[in-house]
């Protein structure tokens, strides 16, 4: 393992920590967090607050025949016990999912997965609420569960969704993209084709803070205040209005400090609705916080794609076509949180970073007796699955052709002059320099030396693997014409107000789960308007105090909301320019902007600062004819396209020949996310994503037994990388700005989670080359790698 001591320490103090704009800047958030003074949902303590706990199904598939709550209701500290039947009377037993399916808030007819919500208790304290759950008695009439996705669509399989009238199977949806006929024609004539079955198993985002809420319904004003662990407070407010029938202006959703999201906190969960109902029923504020098992077994999982990849090429290594067929596991309800027209998310970018002739993909989704979800865990709407598919297939082809995997990629990259590039599945990649990023990664890795070292080690019987991946993401959903969630367009608002003394407040529609928005948005505004970031307050995560927008997920904050911030600042600057022209008694055309002040052209000594202008805007002096006082603006930004960050990753692993344990020795990540706002924060985002990648590739897995019992429902069984499993990350970057984004930024939050798993698996397979291994499915645990070494590799499910 390369250690930090081998690497020159970064310059930590004498750097640009006071930028008026972009650059390394320490975070404005940190002083409260290092003092333990953050306010997370579970930290809230309102007067008279009660505590809610949820009774969950112990089985995967059963009809509920009877629920007896009398003993629970008799508990001296219990204030309310609510079942599905109670909710049904209020029309709240079912709710709409983000994918426009429905999901049970509390089960009425039957339970459809282990951990499903059956009833809830509201009590004076958390311990008593939990005690009372044990006093609820539920009779279950067991049904055969649908667990194996491969047989879920077989005729005669038990029907998970039999509440849907006429539903006689478990079919969820079919979706396809690309040109099937053209792709078949290319495959038919190709010199070389390779087929590989790949499983991207079910994993879970498992943020350190579980999901929860405090609901406070004021029966006098009729206003609901909802503090919740949500990545999308505005979308949640609108959906609560639709689901619960509370007028939208009477709902305030506050997302306080959120302890990580990674997609897990995008959906509306039954627990949130239960907390609302609990507050309405009791007339008191009600807190609900999941425990870890509840989080792992019932909230949004990720991936769960069984894929067949096919790649066609010429014998000299020109990739001609890529085809994939996917079987997707929805769980019991389609809780996919992706733009509605994209039921398989953005899996359509599975053609990757390569200039090819044809592509086609067909996805079939099925319901099973497992928890719902599907799009979560920093996947950029299924791009993690797409990148894994194409990057494993390119490596399989390289092996087949006996070409170095770097050489094969270089040969087939979309070239810088081809941008904007329209893929065979219709995505318009905005900008890129793929060879540039790859060359930077090769340089840092010392790729040729690594290959030479590998030869020596193989001769000694050591198992060293070098894995390469190259990804292109599509982030920043998205253009209103194509993208919406339940009819809500994916545009984002922003409001900027400059106070009389030249300090500012910017109100953004997205919120932060650790991304550092309070810092980076201040920097975006600072860059545009010349006010120090320290003098700019960023307000987020409160629907009463911020403009509408769809929230923080899919790496969309900087591409969408970040653009809105830059543009609203320019709008304010335009007004400031008019005021400045009056103050300096020159025409607007005679002014030029240098960050922080307008100067008279040809007379740079004559100028007014943005602070001077702000005071004039609110002051008693004259303003130019027809101009309103004040210095503020608001906008709503509708992106014209997604942005397409990319990167080149190289992973070096060593596998113990005796135990088959995989150790990641080095990991080199070169990311290009366009214009960089804060290098420190970007590096942190990449480090976190790479760690996710090690977890996903080597240890994280949500599995089920044949009865549908979740086998990984605690952090003893769902393994997350610790400091001992990750190397010192080696990161670098190139900068290829987005041509259509106002500041050229592209988004980076999920790049590393998307790009790293195939690099690691490619490295594992490369290490096992002496054994003739062509593929190992994730997670590459010692037992699974050992089986591959013995020629018995098998899929994880």
């Amino acid at each position: 393992m390369t250690t930090i001591e081998d690497v020159p320490p970064p310059a930590l103090v004498d750097n640009d920590q006071h930028p008026v704009g972009y650059g390394r800047m320490l975070r404005k958030e940190d002083p409260r967090f290092v003092r333990g003074l953050g306010t997370f949902c579970d930290d809230l303590q309102l007067p008279g607050m009660l505590h809610l706990a949820i009774l969950r199904s112990p089985v995967a598939h059963a009809r509920i025949t009877h629920i007896d709550v009398t003993a629970a209701e008799a508990h001296p500290k219990v204030k309310a016990v609510v079942t599905g039947a109670d909710l049904a009377k209020r029309g709240l037993a079912w709710m709409t999912t983000l994918a426009d399916d429905v999901q049970a808030v509390l089960a009425t007819d039957k339970v459809r997965y282990q951990g499903q919500e059956v009833a809830f208790v509201v009590a004076e304290d958390h311990y008593s609420a939990r005690d009372a759950l044990e006093l609820i008695f539920v009779d279950y009439d067991m049904l055969d569960p649908v667990i194996d996705l491969r047989t879920a669509l077989d005729p005669g399989a038990p029907v998970v969704r039999d509440e849907i009238e006429g539903k006689a199977d478990n079919h969820g949806f079919d979706w396809e993209t690309g040109d099937a006929a053209a792709t078949s024609a290319v495959f038919k004539d190709a010199e070389v084709t390779v087929t590989q079955d790949l499983v991207f198993p079910r994993v879970h985002p498992a943020p350190m803070e579980t999901c929860g809420a405090v609901a406070d319904f004021d029966r006098v004003s009729g206003k609901l205040t909802m503090w919740s662990t949500t990545q999308a407070p505005h979308a949640h407010r609108t959906l609560y209005a639709i689901v619960a029938g509370i007028p939208e202006h009477k709902i305030r959703v506050i997302s306080p400090d959120v302890g990580g999201g990674f997609g897990n906190k995008v959906p509306i969960y039954p627990g949130y609705v239960c907390a609302i109902v609990g507050s309405i029923v009791t007339g008191k504020p009600v807190k609900w916080m999941e425990d870890r098992t509840e989080n792992l077994v019932s909230t949004a999982f990720a991936r769960d794609y069984i894929m067949r990849g096919e790649i066609a090429a010429t014998r000299d290594g020109r990739i001609l076509a890529i085809r994939s067929n996917v079987l997707a596991d929805l769980g019991a309800f389609n809780g996919t949180a992706a733009p509605l027209k994209y039921p398989a998310g953005f899996f359509g970018v599975f053609t990757g970073s390569y200039d090819i002739e044809a592509a086609h993909c067909a996805v079939t989704a099925a319901y099973t007796n497992k928890a719902p979800g599907g799009v979560a865990y920093s996947c950029s709407f299924r791009i993690a699955e797409a990148v894994y598919l194409v990057e494993r297939m390119v490596d399989r082809l390289a092996s087949e052709l006996d070409i170095d995997p770097v050489e094969l990629r270089m040969k087939n990259f979309i070239q810088p002059e081809q941008f904007p590039y329209t893929t065979k599945t219709g995505w318009v990649y905005d900008s890129g320099n793929y060879p540039g990023a790859m060359n930077e990664a090769l340089r840092i890795a010392g790729y040729d030396d690594l290959r030479a070292e590998q030869v020596v080690r193989r001769e000694r019987g050591e198992l060293m693997g070098i894995g390469v991946s190259f990804f292109t993401e599509a982030v920043g959903a998205g253009p209103r014409k194509d993208m919406d969630i339940l009819g809500l367009g994916m545009a984002d608002g922003c409001e900027l107000r400059i106070h009389p003394t030249g300090k500012a407040v910017v109100r953004i529609s997205v919120q932060s789960q650790g991304q550092g928005h309070e810092t980076t948005y201040a920097q975006i505004i600072a860059e545009e308007i010349g006010i120090s970031p320290a003098d700019i307050d960023v307000v987020h995560g409160d629907t009463d105090n911020t403009p509408f927008g769809l929230g923080t997920y899919g790496s969309r904050s900087t591409p969408v909301s970040g653009a809105a911030a830059a543009l609203v600042a320019r709008k304010v600057r335009d007004k400031a320019k008019i005021i400045a022209s009056g103050m300096l008694e020159v025409s607007v055309a005679d002014l030029e902007w240098r960050k922080g002040a307008f100067h008279v052209k040809g007379d740079p000594g004559t100028s007014v600062t943005i602070q001077d202008i702000a005071m004039r805007a609110y002051g008693s002096g004259d303003l130019p004819e027809g101009l309103e006082g004040g210095l503020e603006a608001q906008i709503c930004y509708n992106p014209e396209n997604l942005t397409y960050p990319f990167g080149a990753y190289i992973c070096v692993v060593d596998i113990d020949p005796g135990t088959a344990k995989v150790v990641v020795r080095r990991f080199i990540a070169v990311d290009d996310c366009g214009t960089r706002i804060n290098d420190m924060i970007i590096e942190g985002q990449v480090h976190g994503g790479l760690t996710d990648g090690i977890g996903i590739a080597l240890m994280e897995y949500i599995g089920f037994d044949e009865e549908g019992n979740c086998l990984n429902g605690s952090l003893m069984d769902y393994l997350i990388p610790t400091s001992l499993e990750v190397p010192h990350w080696e990161t670098s970057h190139t900068v290829t700005p987005s041509p259509h984004h106002p500041i050229g930024a592209k988004g980076v939050g999920e790049s590393a989670t998307v790009g790293s798993p195939p690099a690691i698996v490619n490295a594992v397979v490369d290490a096992l080359k002496p054994f003739g291994v062509q593929h190992v499915d994730m997670p590459c645990t010692p037992s699974r790698v050992w089986e591959a070494m013995q020629g018995r590799a098998r899929p994880p499910m």
Partner: protein, 166 residues
């Protein structure tokens, strides 16, 4: 039952249920919510506090077991409005993102540096290996603790880290 302990240099006495965990005692009774709770199985380490100077997971300690002992939480790191070097280090080196694991990491880091003022990277990795961070990938946490080790005898001159708030 009645428990009495010293928390951040103050003696507290409360009546609690015998089953009450120290983490809930600190959070719900004393309103010291800097100590977090993140799992059911003592795996995540967001609840780490110091018990008589040793880092412990406060979800595996009953409040009753802490009676008669000294507890220090993240709220007790700052002294006379001066941040502890580990707190400053986490700010300087981007040792946190969402901030949820941070208090536990800080308490472990402080205990580590108290017994080993100049730990190697391997020692730091070992020390924090019982705690999970989902955001940082650990490298910046390690840098933060190294920063604290290197600045052990320096005191910040002001309450706030000037870089972030001035």
């Amino acid at each position: 039952m009645q428990v009495s302990m010293t928390v951040n240099d103050e003696v507290v006495t409360e009546t609690v249920e015998g089953r009450m965990l120290l983490v809930h005692f600190l959070r719900d009774r004393l309103r010291l919510t800097g100590t977090h709770w993140g799992c059911d199985t003592s795996n995540c380490g967001t609840c780490v506090v110091q018990l008589d100077g040793e880092p412990v997971k406060s979800c595996t300690v009953l409040a009753a077991m802490a009676s008669g002992h000294s507890v220090r939480t993240v709220e007790g790191l700052e002294v006379d409005h001066l941040l502890d070097p580990v707190q400053q280090g986490f700010i300087e080196c981007h040792g946190l993102q969402c901030g949820f694991c941070t208090p536990g990491m800080l308490m472990t880091a402080r205990a580590l540096l108290d017994r080993d003022p100049d730990p190697s990277e391997a020692t730091i990795r070992e020390a924090i290996s019982g705690q999970i961070c989902r955001c940082t990938g650990y490298t910046s946490i390690i840098r933060s603790i190294q920063w604290a080790a290197a600045h052990a005898h320096e005191h910040p001159t002001s309450d706030e880290p000037t870089d972030a708030t001035s």
